[in-house]
Symmetry: C4
Subunit: 272 residues, 4 copies
């Protein structure tokens, strides 16, 4: 927890108190929810087109509120390194900076999507949600190997699928990219037989081997990926408890007491 050090100016510690206060968080959260409501209302046909000026003004104001907020949080840190050591601060900074950069541009859609993504700032503002997302993201690196294996399997099946079915089913296997997308659809088991395999089988009867092989291998690997996450989580849950470690610590203490007892008795004997 940052504390006011001697060399620090007084305004910095005061600013920190404000920034870390509950009411500050609640105000920002309210602004984010207002932002969310605005982008929601904008989607209704006619509403955005007829009030473009109003929505532009609201967006300007919201963007500046967020800019001031982030500037305050930045200034409250001891150094800029502390601020940028957190991925969440990077997210907040980039989403607001992008708003300023694209402000003058004519890429209206990009600007509107940026405005919607600001709703995700709710996660960076609510600590319990931030911890949850951090925990979810932390499970990904431990899955590195299985994701790599998944990638290799997708690539091999993608190339073979393109080679074999390019002409029979150009809408599913026309190019390597399309094949990879189709394989992603197949691994979610969505219409893999009725829409993808059966029409191809009418021309190439042996194509079922390709699809059955991929469904078996793909779902098996995806399933093991899921198991990895489960075992990971169960272990983590176990770690936080670890009653066995406590047992072992107690056992070690018990043993040292018995040793003491023995030393005492041997010493007694020596004396005699």
């Amino acid at each position: 927890m940052p504390t006011s050090t001697r060399n620090e100016p007084v305004w910095k510690s005061r600013l920190r108190k404000i920034v870390q206060s509950n009411w500050f968080t609640w105000i920002i959260l309210a602004v984010i929810m207002f932002n969310a409501a605005v982008v929601g209302i904008e989607t209704y046909p006619g509403v955005y087109e007829n009030n473009q000026g109003l929505f532009l003004t609201i967006d300007r104001v919201l963007l500046w509120i967020f800019t001031v907020e982030i500037a305050m949080r930045f200034a409250a840190e001891k150094s800029w390194k502390d601020f940028f050591s957190s991925g969440w601060n990077w997210f907040d900074f980039l989403i607001v900076a992008a708003g300023h950069i694209f402000a003058g541009a004519h890429f209206v859609t990009v600007l509107r999507i940026l405005r919607v993504l600001r709703v995700f700032r709710a996660v960076s503002v609510i600590p319990s949600l931030r911890r949850l997302v951090d925990a979810l993201l932390l499970t990904i690196p431990s899955l590195g190997n299985i994701l790599l294996l998944m990638g290799i399997i997708f690539y091999i099946f993608g190339v073979i699928g393109t080679m074999l079915f390019q002409e029979t089913a150009p809408e599913y296997f026309g190019t390597l990219e399309l094949s990879l997308l189709t394989l992603f659809q197949v691994v979610t088991l969505e219409s893999w037989a009725s829409q993808v395999m059966r029409p191809i089988m009418e021309e190439l009867w042996w194509s079922w081997m390709y699809f059955v092989a991929f469904v078996l291998v793909g779902t098996f690997v995806v399933f093991n990926l899921f198991i990895g996450v489960i075992v990971n989580n169960v272990e983590k849950a176990d770690d936080s408890e670890s009653p066995e470690e406590e047992t072992q610590r107690e056992l070690r203490e018990l043993r040292s007491e018995i040793r003491e007892l023995k030393d005492f008795l041997y010493a007694e004997k020596e004396k005699k």
Copy 2:
């Protein structure tokens, strides 16, 4: 367990015995099953229309039986606070009260649905089912954060989807509500590619990015939601056992005995 206290009238304790007896539960269960059979028979075409009078009479009788039952259970409690402290009593009370309130009304469908919902009273009457549903409902609050995160993700993707595909696929992304329904369909992986993504891709080739991103993020979060429930359940199952705690208790007792032994030996030495 409620016991007859001194200030309580005798009829109250007698009523409580009746209400808590097995045969009372069985009678009510039989009435509920009769109610279930009646609402089932009503669905066959012509049956309800041709015997509206009969079904109305049966319904009146059933409603009054339930009313008397709940009145008895209410009277058997020490105070009305005790009765309404249980969510199941609220459910029973509201389902019967609503039957009386809408009785005169002409909203035939509402009345009939109420009659069907009374079948769910079987759960409130069978204790083992009541405990099961209580247990299922108790897992929900612990999932609060992940449900909130899910909501934010749905909202962001919903607004972006409406913005991008409103004109290309009005039946799926015409309004924000429709988009959210479509996203719910996508997260269950139902026809997400064959019916939703592929027709849109014919006009907007880049739309696969939106859908693949949502399928990955959505299923990952839903899956973690499920893991949350599993870990929750496994932990609960562990709690009921906790052999480690027993081990530690035994270890503590062992240590105190060894200490006693030591104190005795040191005392012996002192004496000498």
Copy 3:
């Protein structure tokens, strides 16, 4: 394990040895596999029609082999009660008895299905498979409550669905039976939106509430049913190990030794 008792005739114990021998099991397994091959070959168009006499003869021979086998296993038991105490023996007996009963009948399809079901005898003959199926079936009673709850939910949604959509979608909700079948399809998430909900929504826009509610409730309960099975299995796996109990047993022995030591020392003191 059955052992030859004094009052038992010699042929019985000899028969038992034969029946329990490995080569007997292997011969029966070979006959079952031959039976499986025959019923498989029969499915090819023309094969059955052109060789009905041959297949009938083969079937007669196979049926009598099985009859003799079961008669031998029956005779090898001490009493007929021992034989019928096993569900597998009942299965074997019924499948062969039905073969004889329907032999003269003209229900050709029933007879052929019986012949196919005999393939399942492979499970009753291979001990490891029999244990596996026994274990799978044993998980069902522990799920009694959740299956009952599932049934109540299906019934309530079935009746309401029939009431609401009977006229809009007669092919899905025409009768209560059809509704229950449709709900089973919805709970497997198969085409629940594209084929069932969306066509109904075109007439009754509010019907999404019914389907989303059922998908949420249904999958939640099915998922908890699955968790029940998992927790059940994990606990069983834990029971077979139970290293904690071993730890506690060792701890108890340790303590008794320390007590002995103490008694000895106190006794020494007394002597002095």
Copy 4:
């Protein structure tokens, strides 16, 4: 780990050092990735046809690089038995040998698929991926029984399905092979109702019994197969830790110390 023994020629130990070095692995990995890129580029229409000579040359060169690599790894082993004791070496050997064998042949598709399969050599080269795939493959034998049961269930339902629906739905149940493929589709829950069951139900209303029975039995067995894998994995995860065994080892040591103490005290008493 192989170490240079006295009788071994010097070049063998030097070769081993090269083969086991990191840079050797990285070079081979780079060649594999180049191979992967080439087979990917080949899939684009026209690219392969217009540069067949170039791709043939590249393929020749890649094939010889892999041949030399495997020859080096073979020569670095103490004996050819050591080399072929690893399944991965067999895979590497066969994939390269097949490349030479089919080189002159005109089965262009077979040759191209072989070239794509070489990408899977990335797994055999990266140790962490090799271990992961080894672990995945090791879970299969423990599932032997449940896979056998699955096979029996598929066969029985396949034969019955062919018998019953051969004429009603020849595209799904025309032959036994087609029925088994359809059952595989049904067990993945893909369009099982909308495409397979409902069209058949229009002619044979009772066919829902067959499909509902198979969905229930099939998904129940598949689900238990998955549970087997999970329990397997969780147990393995537990084995690697096993704090209980450590506890028990410590307890045994503690007890032997207490015994020593007792022996000492009894000996003291004897002396007196």
